[in-house]
Symmetry: C2
Subunit: 347 residues, 2 copies
């Protein structure tokens, strides 16, 4: 397919070439490109044919300048966990594929006092079509207001519904943890420990709430000694689990707020010569690659992260000519408990 068929010098055709070749004005070509409704179907077709013949593609830079808006989607995050960033990227990109939109990745530093200012200058400069905000910075209402102020569409991803459906892609962390812990209780566990995520993370709070609610619903009091905070990292899981396993009586099960810490807990158990799941049951959260590949395979919670990425992109594209049918109620995504081999009844 020679896309430069009618253009001498092999320069890429511009809107002017199309206008000349099809005997209409630039503006009319522009109308065809942008699917203007008030257009004679006949001229529409003629121009469209020329466009196809020449392989003309509008120049994104020129459009961006004229429209004061880029055809770019931003992924703004603070590197929470690799699995999440990559999964979201994958979901977003799969929706963007075939459209005129591209993905631009922008890590930020949530510790920085200039976070909002940084994002502001980024958005002002790049004039993005929209952004996806990942946790934990997605929990910052200031950023959402900033997007509104700058006229930049946004979708927040999070562990709870902290915005309206058009701006939110949420998972039901609290409920699924409730289910997981209830399952532990169901097979007979009574002393259950939790390794929480770090204070300040909404996901940490939601998961802990699910844990406590499950205990409460079963009439079990929460023993403060069985609640230890972690940082979502392997070492913190190792340390927290060691602490938990020092308690007496020892807990017979541990819910770790993510897989990495769960795998740390597994190591802690092994150091003490404890068999998992015979002596200690463990449930994680995330269903990362680790979960299925460690021994024993980890019972954990699977987050439909890629689907959430797709939903986020669809929300951002809503109303454009690249819009895809949006599934109604596509704001809340249900995580599910994946049963593997790290849970057994207590001895």
């Amino acid at each position: 397919m020679d896309s430069d068929a009618n253009i001498p010098g092999s320069a890429k055709p511009t809107i002017n070439d199309i206008a000349r070749l099809s005997g209409v004005s630039k503006k009319t070509v522009s109308r065809v490109i942008n699917r203007s409704p008030l257009l004679n179907e006949e001229t529409r077709k003629r121009v469209d044919d020329i466009i196809r013949e020449t392989g003309y593609v509008p120049n994104p830079q020129a459009r961006a300048l004229a429209l004061r808006r880029n055809f770019l989607i931003g992924l703004v995050h603070d590197n929470p966990n690799a699995q999440m960033v990559l999964g979201m990227q994958q979901g977003i990109l799969s929706v963007l594929k075939g459209t005129e939109y591209e993905l631009i990745v922008r890590p930020v530093d949530r510790g920085s006092t200039t976070l909002v200012a940084d994002v502001r200058s980024f958005l002002e400069r790049q004039r993005l079509h929209g952004v996806v905000l990942l946790p934990p910075i997605s929990e910052d209402d200031g950023l959402a207001r900033l997007c509104d102020e700058l006229g930049c569409r946004y979708v927040r991803m999070g562990s709870a519904e902290l915005d309206d459906a058009a701006h939110m892609v949420a998972s039901n962390d609290q409920d699924v943890v409730h289910e997981a812990v209830s399952y532990l209780i169901g097979v007979g566990h009574r002393r259950i420990g939790i390794i929480t995520g770090p204070t300040g993370f909404r996901s940490a709070w939601e998961r802990r709430q699910g844990f406590e609610r499950a205990l409460a619903d079963a009439g079990i009091a929460v023993d403060p000694a069985l609640v230890v905070e972690g940082s979502y990292r392997f070492e913190s899981g190792l340390g927290a689990a060691s602490k938990l396993l020092d308690c007496s009586p020892r807990p017979t099960a541990i819910f770790a707020s993510n897989d990495e810490m769960a795998s740390g807990a597994l190591h802690a158990a092994r150091r003490l010569g404890l068999d998992v799941p015979a002596d200690l049951s463990i449930i994680g959260f995330d269903d990362t690659a680790i979960a299925a590949h460690i021994w024993p395979p980890l019972t954990t919670v699977r987050w439909p992260i890629v689907e959430m990425g797709k939903a986020a992109a669809r929300k951002l594209l809503a109303g454009t000519i690249d819009a895809q049918p949006e599934v109604p109620g596509e704001a809340l995504f249900l995580s599910q408990l994946i049963h593997r081999a790290s849970v057994a009844p207590p001895k």
Copy 2:
């Protein structure tokens, strides 16, 4: 800091505003922005002051249109493995941080017959400053030529030096695998199996070469039955290892061409009731999160992937005003063997 200080209506200042405020022409302002050498130091300073006062930032869209070149770096890949994509991203972004460049991620499908055409239209449309090509598509010389033709800078990442230093960021896979296998031989192993990567991947070939060279150097013949191909996925590692462990006499050590397959091999050993490392030694490749978190912690090869990402970005930025000092000879990156607990002398 009110960046709209002197601008009524709070519109962002343009080059015209700066020119007016500092009493010079647009062109002079443009020269200041682009660090033109032939400039009166005095006017330079005056304009610079105004720029700082107003918080003026040149509009990237307008620059892109005028320069026919965007301030964007592309990461083009075919989703080889999550660790690699993310590591490269991290490295690239850390170099791009603070510059005017942004990162745009573009997954492609190497199976598609239109791969080159797809990349071409992507590059033609986006007018990127440069691209980073990840394996396995980085091994495609056609893509490199395409970049040259389109005047798009590029850097290829790979397991061997398949381009000149300015366009290549390579790791020494063959040598480090030679080292790893020699180490196995050194502690006494004689029957060593290998789970290779899929045919057609340069990395697979390099690693296998390293394996065979190490055996040859030790005067050990390669037993074809001890060479099994995998797909770089967990299941293939499980299957390949099962095959290897079926041989008699059984191999006492296995080199798996990546961690995911190594972890599959670990599961295969466990199924047979074999103890690692007492009955079977295993070495992986990648040093992914899995490696340190499985049991026993996996001896593996660490790839300086983030550093390679940084180097790639630095090469792409060379010659720009955002250029960073480039370490000489920054084309070959040395992987290293990470000793953990999955290797022991044979019984």
